[in-house]
């Protein structure tokens, strides 16, 4: 098997697995019943999954923890958190966060 064929198979397998994950409960619910505890737990999926993505983006630089004023992403992220809290606007959060990051990078 050529390298190209193998790579195509790899990509297709990765796609099928991802699709199976997305389809899993949407298709199975009704046949299987979720316990009340699981139903309550699912309410916390959005804050858990998204914060688990956000924190390392803000606090890890080059594989190391970077807490302090010399980390522009942390400072810009904190600005963005305030804007998100006050405006509830995705647009404004992105605009203010990116401009803050560029300014801080330029200043440092």
């Amino acid at each position: 098997m050529s390298n190209t064929t193998l790579l195509w198979i790899t990509l297709i397998a990765a796609g099928l697995i991802t699709y199976a994950f997305r389809l899993s409960f949407i298709l199975l619910l009704g046949r299987i019943q979720l316990s009340p505890l699981v139903q309550r737990a699912l309410r916390f999926v959005p804050p858990a999954a998204l914060t688990a993505i956000i924190f390392p983006e803000l606090l890890i630089r080059d594989g190391e923890l970077a807490i302090g004023p010399n980390n522009p992403r942390l400072l810009a992220g904190l600005f963005a958190i305030v804007v998100a809290w006050r405006t509830k606007s995705i647009l404004w959060t992105i605009v203010v966060g990116m401009v803050a990051l560029w300014l801080l990078q330029w200043l440092m």
């Binding site: 409960f25 298709l27 858990a48 999954a49 993505i53 956000i54 924190f55 923890l65 992105i94």
Partner: protein, 245 residues
């Protein structure tokens, strides 16, 4: 049945539920600001994938097949590093495992739909679409508005078109976007904009803080396992805090 619904809708105009078109375009419009985050992400992915050794057709095909930004970035890196296929597939599986949770979380809202809807909407279930749609569904509650699956379709298709076109531009642009533009940061900002306004009670705050701290502590784990571990422990923290209320 459909005609009955429509005539009833006319009778009770003040509280009439959104129509199919209103739901679809509502989802599409809600996703527009998110495109500001997804577009540079897709651009950079396209550039990196080709730079890492994928053919343009493969780079674009991955956007169609996998349709998940972080998994695609990691795959491009692994291909560039010459990682063996089983490792690549395993890594994608771990990185995308959170979609099982998304699926379970949205399932109750989609249960009444025909299979063709379920198969179609599942394909469009990205981080962004999920976060946007579940927030709205939580607000409107059960049974919610009758055509709300169209909202998910509008949001999902909007993101799909955005992701495919930005990938294509990245692939064919071929030139490196300067790293100091830090465009990848826009994705984190998108998630901040979605999560922060939902942190209104103790269980949600506990979930977010615990998940965030664990994600930092577990950042060294291989295959991005830390993401899954942090999400699960965060959920446990939320349920625990809920019980103490």
């Amino acid at each position: 049945m459909a005609t009955t619904n429509r005539s009833l809708t006319h009778l009770v105009k003040p509280s009439a539920p959104p129509s199919v078109q209103q739901e679809f375009w509502g989802g599409f419009k809600a996703v527009l600001p998110m495109m500001l985050g997804a577009t540079p992400f897709g651009l950079i992915y396209g550039v990196l994938a080709v730079a890492g050794g994928l053919s343009p057709a493969m780079a674009q095909a991955m956007s169609v097949l996998v349709f998940a930004g972080s998994a695609q970035f990691i795959t491009a890196q692994l291909v560039a590093a010459g990682a063996p296929s089983p490792i690549i597939i395993f890594t994608v599986a771990i990185v995308n495992l959170r979609h099982v949770l998304y699926s379970a979380s949205l399932a109750p809202y989609l249960q009444h739909l025909r299979p063709v809807w379920k198969w179609g909407l599942a394909y469009l279930l990205t981080d962004e679409a999920y976060a946007l749609v579940i927030t709205r569904y939580h607000q409107t509650g059960h049974p919610g508005t009758p055509h709300r699956h169209w909202y998910l379709l509008g949001a999902g298709l909007g993101l799909w078109v955005c992701w495919q076109s930005s990938t294509a531009v990245g692939v064919f642009l071929g030139t490196q976007i300067p790293a100091y533009w830090s465009l990848d940061f826009a994705i984190a900002l998108t998630f901040i904009a979605i999560v922060v306004p939902t942190l209104k009670d103790r269980p949600n705050v506990a979930t977010a803080l615990v998940a965030g701290v664990i994600a930092i502590a577990a950042v060294g784990l291989p295959y991005k396992l830390g993401l899954v571990v942090a999400t699960l422990i965060g959920i446990v923290a939320g349920v625990g805090a809920d019980r103490h209320e």
